[in-house]
């Protein structure tokens, strides 16, 4: 069944979950297919390892399907799936031994052009179009490495807000923290990322 056909059949989200709860294989496949790219991207941005991200995405959907019967519509499906994915990823990150600054130091040899481009973007008063800056592969790598050097909690909140666009309430729900904590953690995460990027240029 194609995604288009699935959307037609299942209509709204509640219908989809109802079918999933009944064990409808097509509905479950649609659920996986519908969310796998978003979840994979989020996990990859948090854990920064493609192979681990793929395994974590698979684990997330295994857990989603195993527990779909206990889903009680207290939050939206995607918040619930994000919660499972983020928990699995953060637990995975805690287990992994990471060498943060060492890897950043090793990657400090970025091309001068990319450095200058990022410097102009960060320091000039005029607000440039970030899509032009982000188009550079080199700058993407620099941002990725800088994200890698944030703490797991800061990286998670930044990814959920600035990449996935989740609301503060949803972030609080996904990370199981207070709304005030989301705000302060987001401020500190952005400041920390700015400091890391400035140290690179």
């Amino acid at each position: 069944m194609s995604v288009l056909e699935s959307t037609k059949v299942f209509g709204c989200e509640r219908e989809l979950i109802k079918s999933c709860k009944k064990g409808d294989r097509a509905a479950l496949e649609y659920l996986v297919h519908h969310y796998q790219d978003k979840i994979y991207n989020t996990i990859l941005k948090i854990c920064q390892n493609p192979q681990d991200s793929l395994e974590l995405t698979q684990d997330t959907f295994v857990k989603v399907i195993e527990n779909i019967k206990s889903f009680n519509y207290a939050s939206s499906v995607y918040t619930w799936i994000y919660k499972i994915a983020t928990n699995l990823t953060l637990n995975h990150c805690k287990r992994k031994v990471k060498i943060k600054w060492a890897s950043l130091e090793a990657e400090k040899d970025f091309a001068e052009g990319a450095k200058n481009g990022l410097k102009n973007y960060l320091l000039s008063d005029e607000a440039e179009d970030p899509s032009q800056i982000a188009a550079s592969k080199e700058i993407q790598t620099m941002v990725g490495k800088s994200l890698e050097n944030l703490s797991d909690e800061h990286r998670a909140v930044l990814v959920l807000r600035d990449i996935d666009g989740l609301s503060y309430d949803d972030i609080a729900e996904v990370l199981e923290i207070e709304l005030g904590t989301v705000k302060s953690r987001l401020s500190r995460a952005r400041e920390a990322l700015k400091d890391i990027l400035e140290s690179l240029i």
């Binding site: 941005k45 959907f61 970030p130 994200l147 600035d162 990322l193």
Partner: protein, 307 residues
């Protein structure tokens, strides 16, 4: 220096998460405060930069992998539910219990063995198998007080009689048991000996008894306050009393002899059946009599009044 609250509000403003009223207030602060303005621009740039980072799609359709994993998990769960694991667990539990019981038995057996090896022989013999006796049987039985017989003998010739009696003491090997006390008018012998020795002595005295003028006996028992005086006593009488092993019968006999010895009373008057005479030989040969109680024999030989 911007305080944390303003920073949080600026970030909320950047994310468009403020109400209109608060957004207007923050916009006014940004317009009038250069530091806040710079902070706002920095946060906005960072947000945009992160937001423009490359999106990565999942490299493959993972649904097949997910369902394969789920099916494998289900098969594994069914296998675990239907497998003999639960039976195995029960079997293992029983085996653990049996092993624990065997260990306890082994420890008990070893303890008993060690106890038997190390404990004193008498304690092992008596402690576990001690027979609970009735109180009367188990109680300490008071040993009967020794019989005390005082013989007062009057002789015509005190020296001869004393000499004769000394010879008997030697011949009966009672020298170590005798405390003699010789005075001018009498000789006193305090003899502490066994029943058997006392009977032998009395039997030996029987031969020369006619040399004495008169003899009286006073028989006393420690646990009986009465003193039984037998007048004109014969060695047979004393032997008869001594030969009786039962204390009550002994007292009864002494009492009877004392009564009979009173002047004017004969055995026929009392109409008492004639008892068989107990001889000293019969007693000495009686091996069943194991009574080893001591006899206090006091013999006083004194000079009879002449004429």
């Amino acid at each position: 220096m911007i305080n944390e609250e303003i920073k949080n509000l600026v970030n909320c403003y950047v994310d468009g998460m403020l109400s209109d009223r608060k957004a207007t207030e923050i916009q006014r602060i940004i317009d009038h405060d250069a530091a806040v303005s710079k902070y706002y621009k920095d946060m906005l740039r960072i947000k945009r930069l992160v937001g423009c980072s490359e999106k990565s799609d999942c490299p493959m359709n993972i649904s097949e992998v997910v369902f394969t994993t789920l099916e494998r998990t289900m098969i594994m769960n069914n296998f675990e539910a239907n497998s003999s694991d639960s039976n195995g667990a029960k079997h293992l539990y029983i085996r653990k219990l049996a092993a624990a019981a065997a260990i306890f038995l082994l420890i008990g057996g070893l303890s008993l063995l060690i106890f038997q090896i190390l404990s004193p022989v008498d304690s092992s013999d008596t402690l576990p198998m001690r027979r609970i006796l009735p109180i009367a049987e188990d109680a300490v039985i008071a040993k009967p007080q020794p019989v005390k017989i005082t013989l007062n003998i009057w002789a015509d010739d005190l020296v001869e009689s004393t000499s004769m009696f000394n010879g008997l003491i030697y011949s009966q090997m009672l020298v170590n048991n005798t405390v003699p006390n010789r005075e001018l008018s009498y000789s006193k012998y305090s003899i502490k000996c066994s029943r058997q020795q006392a009977i032998s002595l009395m039997a030996a005295m029987e031969t020369d008894w006619n040399k004495f003028v008169k003899a009286d006996a006073a028989v006393g028992f420690g646990d009986d306050k009465n003193l039984y005086n037998i007048h004109s006593v014969e060695p047979d009488n004393v032997i008869t009393i001594l030969a009786i092993s039962d204390r009550q019968a002994q007292i009864a006999k002494a009492e009877k002899l004392a009564r009979l010895s009173k002047p004017g009373i004969s055995e026929s008057i009392l109409d008492v059946p004639v008892e068989p005479k107990i001889t000293s030989e019969a007693f000495i040969n009686n091996e069943n009599d194991k009574d080893d109680s001591l006899i206090n024999l006091e013999i006083i030989i004194q000079q009879a009044k002449r004429g």
